[in-house]
């Protein structure tokens, strides 16, 4: 499990090198897998990243604390909100700011909506990767309904820039709760259909059961988190284990599975979507309807955060997302490090899991890990 893949003799004529990526092959994004194949069986895999490096962490050292807030969302396109929240969380902690309760509820609502939208896109991706493109059409449409909600809540569909250090940027629009409930009902109905069409599908089952099995003992050494580890039987979730925002006030179940293969991972995520809808409904019903949504802030133009360092983490769709921030008392970040779960899932783990699969399953295997290259290369 921890040994390198056995070497192959490329001069033997039995093998073929095949590159998957770095062109954007669907939701797995711009990284590449250098596959060594024998027939259609993959015998070796090397992962390559570097095509998306935009240097966010370095850029942030040249911007003031408020100026960083619009760029962090760009680190992960399908899930900008987790970046916004974690950046706000680390800055608030070092600056000694407590965001008001109403903002904490709105943030939770925002994060769970984001999770649902991201899962919908992922669900379409796993369907499409195994030939079920109709599911993709359905789920992406329903994701768009959630983006509509984001648009009216935050002013933007993808890069919301809404969770700002100190709170959130505005109150919820008039009548938002009703429209949100409506979308949740539609998504719930869709999920029932998806269960029939995808999870009770002989083709999908045949191709995903047993594919990309992650042994239990691999989970911790490889730093596997999120649904990938829960599908391997670990009942771990930061929302339960280290509750942040208002998660300790929400009721939801931890979903686990034991098979630890592509199907199990898909099933865990599918059920987590139902839990997400459950949490969203609780948020909408229980969140405070008035009160401040922003802490009292200093003048942000020359906001100096006291020297210190901290790490904040949150359970994002793919696992543990973390921000490590170091400040030196100046108006600028000294160093920020973003820990995206894709780093561990898409590089070392993928190299292991790919061996022994066949070429047609590679894309689906990658989707099943729910990796996202932009967060590997901040």
């Amino acid at each position: 499990m921890f040994e390198p893949n056995p070497p192959v003799d490329l001069s033997s004529g039995k093998y073929l090198k095949l590159w998957q990526g770095p062109q954007h092959p669907g939701i797995t994004g711009n990284m590449s897998l250098e596959l060594t194949t024998c027939g259609d069986e993959v015998v070796d895999c090397k992962t390559h990243v570097g095509y998306l490096h935009r240097g966010f962490e370095k850029l942030m050292e040249r911007r003031t604390f408020i100026q960083n807030f619009p760029i962090v969302c760009r680190i992960a396109v399908p899930e900008p909100t987790f970046n916004e929240y974690l950046y706000a969380a680390v800055v608030e902690e070092l600056a000694g700011i407590q965001s008001p309760e109403r903002a904490e509820w709105i943030r939770t609502l925002n994060l769970e909506l984001m999770r649902l939208a991201s899962y919908l896109m992922w669900l379409g991706g796993i369907g499409a990767a195994f030939g079920q493109s109709t599911v993709y059409q359905w789920t992406v449409t329903h994701r768009d309904y959630i983006l509509d909600l984001f648009e009216e809540m935050t002013g933007a569909r993808v890069y919301h820039m809404y969770i700002v250090p100190g709170g959130v940027r505005g109150r919820l629009p008039e009548g938002f709760e009703g429209r949100c409930h409506e979308v949740l009902n539609r998504v719930e109905k869709l999920l029932r259909d998806v269960e029939k069409v995808l999870f009770n599908n002989v083709v999908f089952k045949a191709r995903t059961k047993g594919l990309g099995h992650i042994p239990r003992e691999m989970v911790d050494p490889y730093g596997i988190t999120g649904p990938n580890q829960r599908a391997a039987g670990f009942a771990r979730d930061l929302r339960k284990d280290a509750p942040y925002l208002v998660y300790d006030q929400l009721e939801f179940d931890l979903i686990t599975a034991t098979e630890s293969d592509t199907y199990a991972r898909a099933w865990v995520r599918y059920q987590e979507m139902h839990q997400g809808i459950r949490m969203l409904r609780q948020c909408l019903d229980r969140m405070p309807k008035d009160g401040p949504f922003q802490a009292r802030m200093p003048n942000v133009l020359h906001w100096q955060v006291p020297a210190g360092e901290t790490y904040a983490k949150a359970e994002c769709t793919r696992g543990e997302y973390g921000y490590y921030l170091v400040t030196d008392g100046s108006e600028y970040v000294r160093r920020v490090h973003v820990r995206g779960p894709s780093y561990t899932h898409a590089i070392a783990l993928m190299e292991k899991l790919a061996v022994g699969t066949n070429i047609a399953d590679i894309a689906g295997l990658m989707v099943s890990l729910h990796t996202y290259p932009p967060e590997i290369e901040r």
């Binding site: 760029i71 009216e152 890069y159 003048n299 942000v300």
Partner: protein, 594 residues
């Protein structure tokens, strides 16, 4: 493999009969959400402070001059130009906008044939979305700036009226830093300050607790910083952009915060005391803020400076017109002593004309700066005003400043609405009198500082507005005086000027006081200038009309201060002095350098 798994996927057909999700644009339109962050719009409330440019993390905003804008005070004349090749639509510019003029439309898309159109000035360029009423704007309860001023500790009304102790106690260091932190450093104030002080820079020095740097910045343009930190008319604060949504920065108090933290004995070390004599000599008439400011900057350039002062002490109106509860003597001395320590000679109790002829000065010196101020009280021009119990405001303030009892009695009426009137009223309160202020217009028309009006009311002065004095009676008495005044109606001016008070003959009042203090303004006295010189100098209403660099038609004579400007405040006099010092240097050397 179960049969269910084989059949179940065909459920997919059920959705085939549903209405399509897709919207048929452009047949069906779908407008953006009301809060959508679309394209930038700017209203005419914009004053070009450039805070949007400062916060923009993409450098997508440049402040550019715009043709055809109406010129107004507190407006830089610049407007934000957006580069949509750089913008990321984060709307921090909208959030930070000090006047809330900047917002966004809710348009999704914009298509144009012009490849340069994405570079536009919001609000002034005609853009297709300019009439849009929806789109992102800052929520009322969301702030990136601090709008409330940090209060300064002050004596309560009862305490302050009990004596001549300074009312405002100054900021603590923490308070000063917090207040300085509110500044957005736009620099709109710099243009409005008569002396063009480096306001954002010295506010930054306060924020960084670097008082030495702060002091050096202050002295670049103003050698009366301790004074101005207390009693400046702070035109800067009236245009401060933070005033649009909250309180303007307490610029005056922050200036004081620097000076209060540097002891007088460190001035020479921080500001330097080296003077390289250049062999020329300049005379200055009047040791007020204008004269001493000119003396300071001339001395710094190596001139031998002699100041002629008619009073026994320097400071002019700052000493004899501003009561010590606003400007304690030791604070004024702190400014004056440093100037004198550089080698500026002051000849006290010397009247030009009486003790030294003007002609001698103009002949003896290479150049002359004249800032004698306004020290002749204006007459009320009503019948009976020569009554011995009608005092002038200036005289009362002079007496108090010189340690004499002005003898106002216990029931006083003050006529006027300027700072001298307010000071005379507040001084009288401190002397134990019951004070009524009669002003011919409304309180909001008063030329006095709003703080002075507020504080005088808090101290128990009764302000009667729209009261026009008509006659002084009771000529027989030497201890009491009676005034007849009539109520006024404010009549709008057809020509667009300020409303005019018109006496209502049927609503007259009569009241007896121990004294009446007239403080309706003051004029200058220039009799000491011989006619042969006067003929060559331009005057308007007995005031100088100086030319470039405060020079007059008499090339050696430069003028400034209240006698030569219409603003008649300390900071303008200080600037006149500074400006004239540069002019004199140019006049004598042909260059502004050095």
């Amino acid at each position: 493999m179960s049969l269910k798994d084989l059949i179940s996927p065909f459920y997919v057909w059920q959705r085939a009969f549903e209405k399509p999700y897709t919207q048929k644009r452009p047949i069906e339109d779908r407008p953006g959400a009301p809060r959508y962050r679309g394209f930038h719009m700017n209203s005419e409330d914009c004053i070009g402070c450039g805070t949007c440019e400062t916060i923009c993390q993409n450098h997508a905003i440049d402040m550019v001059p715009v043709e055809g804008l109406e010129q107004r005070s507190g407006d830089s004349g610049l407007r934000p130009r957006f580069d949509y090749g750089r913008c990321c639509w984060c709307a921090l510019c909208v959030d930070i906008c000090t006047t809330r003029s900047l917002r966004m439309s809710n348009h999704y898309a914009w298509i144009t044939e012009d490849p340069d159109a994405f570079h536009f000035t919001a609000g002034t360029d005609a853009m297709p979305w300019n009439q849009n009423s929806l789109g992102y704007r800052r929520d009322d309860d969301y702030h990136l700036l601090v709008h409330e001023r940090i209060d300064m500790q002050a004596l309560g009304a009862e305490e302050s009226v009990a004596g001549f102790d300074e009312v405002m106690k100054g900021y603590t260091e923490e308070q000063a830093v917090l207040e300085a932190d509110r500044c957005v450093e736009c620099g709109i104030c710099v243009a409005t300050c008569p002396a063009h002080m480096a306001i954002p820079d010295y506010i930054r020095a306060v924020r960084q607790r670097d008082y030495e740097a702060g002091l050096r910045l202050l002295y670049e343009t103003n050698p009366f910083s301790s004074t101005c930190g207390r009693i400046c008319t702070h035109r800067c604060e009236t245009v401060c952009v933070m005033g649009y949504q909250g309180d303007p920065i307490a610029i005056r108090w922050l200036k004081r915060a620097i000076v209060d933290r540097v002891p007088a004995e460190r001035y020479r070390e921080i500001l330097g005391d080296e003077v390289v004599e250049n062999g020329r000599k300049v005379g200055v008439i009047g040791a007020g803020p204008g004269g001493m400011s000119a003396a300071y900057y001339l001395r710094r350039q190596g001139y031998a400076v002699t100041v002629y002062e008619s009073q026994a002490r320097a400071g002019g109106m700052l000493r004899y017109g501003v009561p010590s509860y606003r400007l304690p003597d030791d604070q004024l001395d702190k400014d004056l002593e440093y100037i004198r320590s550089l080698g500026v000679e002051v000849k006290f109790n010397t009247h030009i004309g009486r003790d030294v002829p003007f002609r001698q000065l103009i002949e003896d010196y290479d150049a002359l700066f004249l800032a004698v101020g306004l020290n002749q009280p204006s007459a009320l021009r009503i019948q009976g005003e020569e009554h011995p119990r009608v005092l002038s405001g200036l005289q009362v303030l002079d007496d108090v400043a010189s340690g004499r009892d002005p003898g106002v009695g216990s029931k006083v009426a003050v006529i006027g609405g300027g700072n001298v009137a307010m000071d005379a009223a507040r001084v009288s309160r401190r002397l134990g009198a019951d004070v009524t202020v009669l002003y011919r217009r409304r309180i909001e028309d008063m030329p006095a500082d709003p703080e002075e009006i507020h504080e005088s009311q808090a101290e128990g002065c009764k302000l009667v507005q729209q009261a026009i004095p008509v006659e002084i009676k009771n000529a027989a008495s030497t201890s009491q005086v009676t005034i007849v005044w009539g109520e006024a109606e404010m009549i709008a001016d057809d020509k667009g000027g300020r409303p005019r008070p018109v006496l209502q003959e049927d609503r007259m009042h009569e009241e007896t006081y121990d004294c009446i203090i007239a403080a309706i303004g003051q004029g200058g006295q220039l009799d000491f200038i011989p006619a042969e010189y006067r003929d060559r100098i331009e005057f308007k209403w007995n005031k100088f009309v100086p030319g470039e660099y405060q020079q007059t038609g008499l090339p050696k004579l430069f003028v400034g201060g209240d006698i030569a400007n219409s603003r008649a405040d300390a900071i303008s006099a200080i600037e006149d002095g500074h400006h004239a010092a540069r002019g004199i240097h140019r006049f004598l050397t042909g260059t502004l350098d050095g």
